[in-house]
Symmetry: C2
Subunit: 391 residues, 2 copies
Amino acid sequence: MRFSNRIQQMDTTVLRELLALTAKPDIISFAGGLPAPESFPVEALRQASDLVYRLRGRIALQYSPSSGLPSLREKLARRHQSQGINCTAENFLIISGSQQGLDLAGKVFLEPGDLVLCENPTYMAALSVFRSYECSVMPVETDDEGMIPSDLEEKLTQNPDAKLLYVIPTFQNPTGRQWSLPRRRAVLDIAQRYGLPILEDDPYGALRYEGEPLLSLKSMDSGGLVTYMGSFSKVLSPGIRLGWLLASRELIEKYTSAKECSDLQSSTIAQMTVDAYLESNDLDAHVSEITALYSQRRDRMLSALSDLFPAGTSWTHPQGGLFLWVTLPDWMDTASLLPEMVSRGVAYIPGRDFFANRDERSCLRLNFSSSTEDQIVEGLRIMAQTLRRVM
Amino acid sequence: MRFSNRIQQMDTTVLRELLALTAKPDIISFAGGLPAPESFPVEALRQASDLVYRLRGRIALQYSPSSGLPSLREKLARRHQSQGINCTAENFLIISGSQQGLDLAGKVFLEPGDLVLCENPTYMAALSVFRSYECSVMPVETDDEGMIPSDLEEKLTQNPDAKLLYVIPTFQNPTGRQWSLPRRRAVLDIAQRYGLPILEDDPYGALRYEGEPLLSLKSMDSGGLVTYMGSFSKVLSPGIRLGWLLASRELIEKYTSAKECSDLQSSTIAQMTVDAYLESNDLDAHVSEITALYSQRRDRMLSALSDLFPAGTSWTHPQGGLFLWVTLPDWMDTASLLPEMVSRGVAYIPGRDFFANRDERSCLRLNFSSSTEDQIVEGLRIMAQTLRRVM
């Protein structure tokens, strides 16, 4: 059998093996990006689902429009209007989680050989998607304030045909960093000058533990270049598989065609359940409960790192999101350290695969949302012990 | 903005406009491929869903493996074993409906410029998917017994590099025909001789109103060439968005990578709900209720066609499925007739878009599953009147 070129590019084994690690019950896993299951509003979603089955079951189990449930799109429009984005329900496409948004962006924009720009490091599964479209990915240098505009400018000067800019400006995966407002403005200005479409991935923005919300790129996007991706995975449930794209009507039309070819539509019953949940529950109040839980876990992770980790290591201080990024001394390799860590009962994700060029080996990503405070302290104690022995 | 070539190929407007027609409440629509909503096991699915939320809510709302829920894959394996297919849970990937299966087959196999062979006519949305992969689609001649082996052989002799054969052997969309067993064997033999992978689409096979079940291509597939696509859309609910791929482990591995890049996984809660439904309900008994309903509707449509339609028209006599295929005199054009039909209150799908070369204009597809018997008679009465005026 002859397969496509793209399937050879789909190196998803790393992520799959890592997720398999997280599934072992005897391992304290900082590896996945899982929300805490105790944060799920199980009873409220059960009631919403039950109401939908009882009152509109035949509609909920039938096909529905590819663009998504109109009332859910309207609710999302009102939410984003209150965040300063000029939009209506027509600017939304309901998708089956952010991963599908990445794939649809690939379908709409990317040809083999195209160049995609992204942060360095960036979300590893996004790199897999862009590579599956047989694109080159060029990392743009990034620091604590976000993408560095002068480096973006330089790379665009050298590569004016770059096709797409992929960014996670708020509580970035893997670093947990957020871009400063001046950086957001500067990057958007440069993209507008080059007519470069931006994919703004924002699954974590609502999970803020300190500081004031910053404007999204989409809210400052006068030229219609930005596609904003939102998700219910981190604020309600990842298992229900729902997210959304917010973009110009012209772009949403193209994304909708791509969605129809991909899977016709997202689940009617899932959309109606979330819609019914939003009718009778306060999502912001629920998010406050999640952030109360996660900020304690973040604080515990930060204090345990300070107390336990050896000199020569450093880490980010994320104001939100799920992740924290640890840097070990230059000469260390977090990927080759992992098997020993796992044998001692703790897992993380080596940083290498978040770098488009896979050229950094001394970083690692820690998730603090899905472990209890006791597990956080115990897991970091094991990691610190192991590090002290090899450092 | 510069878009991909593939997005220009995604001509989904035809289907979208047709589905919009079906949504008007004052129109008797034979256009869509919708199951009858009164056939949905709403209460049984509600109970299954409720049980999942109550007993395993935190698991149901969390991420789960890309390949799908193990217990659901095991149930599917047992079902297909009883149909003579040698398989285990490892041969399955849970997908979000058959449309996703088409897209994943595109991802795994197709390069721009590749050739896909299919029946003539065939499912129009499959044509859209293959075109979105910038492939040529070559129709193989098809008659009442299915694909004609000599024509397949001839086309493969001329095009030995053909990449994929797409077929719907049982109660085909749009014609309702099923392939005879000798044709199944002959086509599989030829494909095996050329090493040509087959995508066997079987959403309707369980909906049989007469005759004995025939062996699927997959059950005779000794060489591992066949990917079988199944779906819960027509036997349980299309709104829940679940189907499956059944193939060799090597192929399932590749489909799983493609699935991960596409949307990570299908909904955990949807999979657990269907799994719980299958635990405490007899799917075959439910399918018997559906077939009792649909066979009456098919019979009513067949008798109304005989009673009402003018001489010079003919139609298929499907032993199962959702569709029936009408042929008008050669000189007629069912697409240009449609606006008048719709203005008189009845809708169908013009046959043209089911032909890869769009060169047949005198056919149309009728769906008999989603209209009541009264609507069927009334809709066909309107159609017959209009036909008599123009013929």
